[in-house]
């Protein structure tokens, strides 16, 4: 993991704001991370902490207030050329969190899945288009005959898979998967995860994987970043993060993972994160620190020494 690998996506000091000029609200606060080509990078953390916003900024839905987003070394936030915009629109696909509201209710699945192909400009022969739709549907475990049905005729999990098929059909290089599996049953979830891994092996895909299910994240991701209130507080390789969580927020998060084990759940001890526990003041402000190779944490000097002492 530590050898020189190509960085496909680089997010540097990204800041995203909402609200008015007079009442700005910083949803993403100077966030930095990079994703290697072919890697699965996990983004986990508090609900409302800015995960979706980061994803949407990468695909250029949200304007950025500060910082840079690089894709293959080229800046893709802010003003970019039309050609680069088109390229990014095809190469980066996002699977959206909300399967209900992200699908066009009045269109048939057939259209929904192949919509992206139309906007690419070059016309595809009808037969080829239909084949692609059928392939994309069966890739995600749906029957090809579903193509002629409408979204409301499907269950939540089925709709989520339509959203995935819609991304896959574009043959992207980089997929931002925002809670792609949360609406799925355990077995379909396993199928979709296997599918994502298989596509990664075959096509060298890179993923930004946003999810609340940490058991899944641990299983599928190479590295994980933990975000809280718009700031990344810890970043490490998956097993390392689970083995040595340093930041108290990470510890609280890991302690809360529900386990499919009734006896374990009954005896579970929840850690609660209290932001005041850091006692940050003007003298000891936290900064982004490397505790051990590849394991970063947001910590004050004092905390850093304590964390190093725990190793």
């Amino acid at each position: 993991m530590s050898e020189q690998r190509k960085k496909l996506v680089e997010v540097q000091d990204l800041t995203v704001k909402f609200g008015s000029k007079r009442h700005p609200f910083t949803a993403v606060d100077r966030v930095s991370f990079h994703i290697f080509q072919g890697e699965t990078f996990g983004l986990v953390g508090e609900s409302g902490s800015g995960k979706t916003t980061i994803g949407r900024s990468i695909i250029r839905i949200h304007p950025t207030a500060g910082g840079k987003i690089l894709y293959g070394g080229r800046q893709i936030n802010g003003r970019i050329s039309r050609q680069l915009d088109q390229e990014v629109t095809q190469k980066i696909q996002m699977i959206f969190q909300d399967p209900m509201s992200s699908l066009n209710e009045r269109a048939k699945v057939d259209y929904i899945v192949s919509e992206g192909l139309y906007s690419r400009g070059h016309h595809l022969p009808e037969k080829e288009r239909q084949e692609k739709v059928a392939k994309a549907l069966s890739d995600v475990g749906l029957l090809p005959e579903f193509a002629s049905r409408f979204p409301h005729e499907f269950s939540g999990g089925q709709r989520q898979r339509i959203g995935i098929a819609r991304a896959l059909i574009m043959e992207p290089d980089f997929i931002i998967a925002d809670e792609p599996i949360s609406a799925l049953d355990v077995s379909i979830r396993a199928q979709v995860l296997n599918l994502l891994s298989q596509l990664q092996k075959e096509r060298g895909l890179t993923y930004l994987f946003i999810a609340h299910d940490l058991s899944v994240v641990r299983f599928i991701c190479d590295r994980i970043a933990v975000i809280q209130k718009g700031k990344i507080v810890e970043l490490a390789e998956s097993e390392e993060l689970f083995a040595h969580p340093f930041h108290p927020y990470t510890q609280a998060l890991l302690s809360a993972i529900p386990q499919p084990d009734p006896i374990g759940e009954r005896n579970k001890k929840l850690l609660v994160y209290d932001p005041d526990c850091h006692h940050y003041g003007p003298e000891n402000q936290p900064s982004w620190q490397e505790v051990c190779p590849g394991h970063f944490v947001l910590a004050s000097q004092e905390e850093l020494e304590r964390y190093r002492g725990q190793l």
Binding site: F18, V44, G45, E46, S47, G48, S49, T52, Q97, D98, P99, M100, G141, L143, R149, H152, E153, S155, G156, G157, Q158, E179, S182, A183, L184, D185, V186, S187, I188, R189, A190, Q191, L193, N194, S197, Q198, H212, D213, S215, F219, I220, F242, P245, Q251, A252, L253, L254, S255, A256, I257, P258, Q259, P260, D261, P262, I263, G264, E265, K268, V272
Partner: protein, 350 residues
């Protein structure tokens, strides 16, 4: 939970639900019976598309227009809910007696009204509070479900909330109605695990305080292990196994339940495919013959393809619909998952 007060609050009897779609009929619920006990917490788990949402929607008259109950009954408080026809009938039940938190929060929030207003309406309607006192209650509810800065949040619209925050609002509204039965359809999938734990604790506390009965639908078996007294497992429009939480996790009997538990990511080995059930669920536009799971069950018996198995009793609280429980069936060992689940689960860190 069952032992002392065996009060059935809601009873489904041989329920059948169908949808008509362009001249074809889809049989979504195929003769399901289930007793829900007063004060218990029951979880319905199972395949996506197996009919979990449709099943519970029947208790609130919320089936889509092309769906109808084609047989059976749902008894609640001495009334058969399947005979309800008008909105007036349902208004007495919906929200007040039985409330539901939907899978998708966007569908239950009005995009044009502020979050504060929407909760306040529920509070005014169901708790009889007015004006500033109602507003105060709204603020409390918002912080109860873990939303910081309620004053700013009160004035915001749903699209200004994150997915998880919207879901918490929906839960807040449902709870404000003080229902007797709370149905939660994927209540916490959009939430981070710390908030999830908080919400589940909140629902559990409500449950104790108001002797609330809860029906959970969730794909997260960790959540199920945490909240459920009992579990019902659904496959292709049918409940194929029902039992106490421990019975279903540690001693499952139906091959579908085995397969379900074997697919858990906790049992996965990194960089190797996870176990996944082969094939696809049956097309419910065609009548299912025999055991609906048989075509996907590598160890299915001949009779599975011919005849629907009856419910066999495993214990007074545990039942499963599989021919494997027939005394004449060959002995088939379940996969090893239950033991390993237990070991992996307990070896939690931190």
């Amino acid at each position: 939970m069952q032992s002392s007060e065996n009060n059935v609050i809601l009873s489904f009897q041989d329920l059948n639900v169908k949808f008509t779609l362009r001249g074809q009929t889809l049989h979504a619920i195929r003769g399901v019976s289930l007793d829900v006990l007063q004060g218990e917490s029951i979880a319905i788990v199972g395949e996506s598309g197996s009919g979990k949402s449709v099943f519970v929607k029947c208790t609130m008259g919320l089936l889509d227009a092309n769906g109808y109950i084609s047989g059976g009954s749902i008894l609640y408080n001495g009334q058969d809910l399947t005979t309800f026809r008008t909105d007036d009938d349902w208004l007495k039940i919906r929200g007040k007696e039985i409330a539901m938190v939907f899978q998708d929060p966007m569908t239950s929030l009005n995009p044009l009204k502020t979050i504060g207003k929407q909760i306040q309406e529920a509070v005014e309607l169901h708790q009889g509070l007015k004006g500033p006192r109602a507003k105060q209650a709204v603020m409390e509810i918002l912080s109860d479900v873990g939303i910081d800065d309620p004053v700013r949040r009160y004035k915001q619209y749903p699209h200004e909330f994150s997915g998880g925050m919207r879901q918490r609002v929906v839960i807040a509204i449902a709870v404000a109605c003080r229902p007797r039965i709370l149905i939660c359809d994927e209540p916490t999938t959009a939430l981070d695990v710390t908030i999830q734990a908080q919400i589940l604790e909140l629902i559990k506390a409500m449950q104790k305080k108001y002797n609330l009965t809860t029906i959970y639908i969730t794909h997260d078996l960790g959540v199920v292990a945490n909240v459920a007294d009992r579990i019902a497992v659904m496959y292709a429009g049918d409940i194929v196994e029902v039992g106490s939480c421990d019975e279903v996790f540690y001693d499952p009997k139906h091959p579908y339940t085995w397969a379900l538990l074997s697919s858990l990511p906790q049992l996965g080995v990194k960089n190797e495919p996870l176990y996944a059930i082969q094939g696809t669920p049956p097309n419910l536009f065609h009548e299912v013959r025999g055991d609906a799971f048989a075509p996907r069950n590598p160890r299915a018996l001949k009779i599975d393809f011919l005849e629907r198995p009856p419910m066999f009793d495993v214990s007074p609280t545990h039942k499963a619909r599989t021919w494997l429980l027939d005394p004449r069936a060959p002995k088939v060992e379940p996969p090893e998952h239950s033991r390993s689940l237990r070991e992996k689960g307990v070896s939690r860190r931190v």
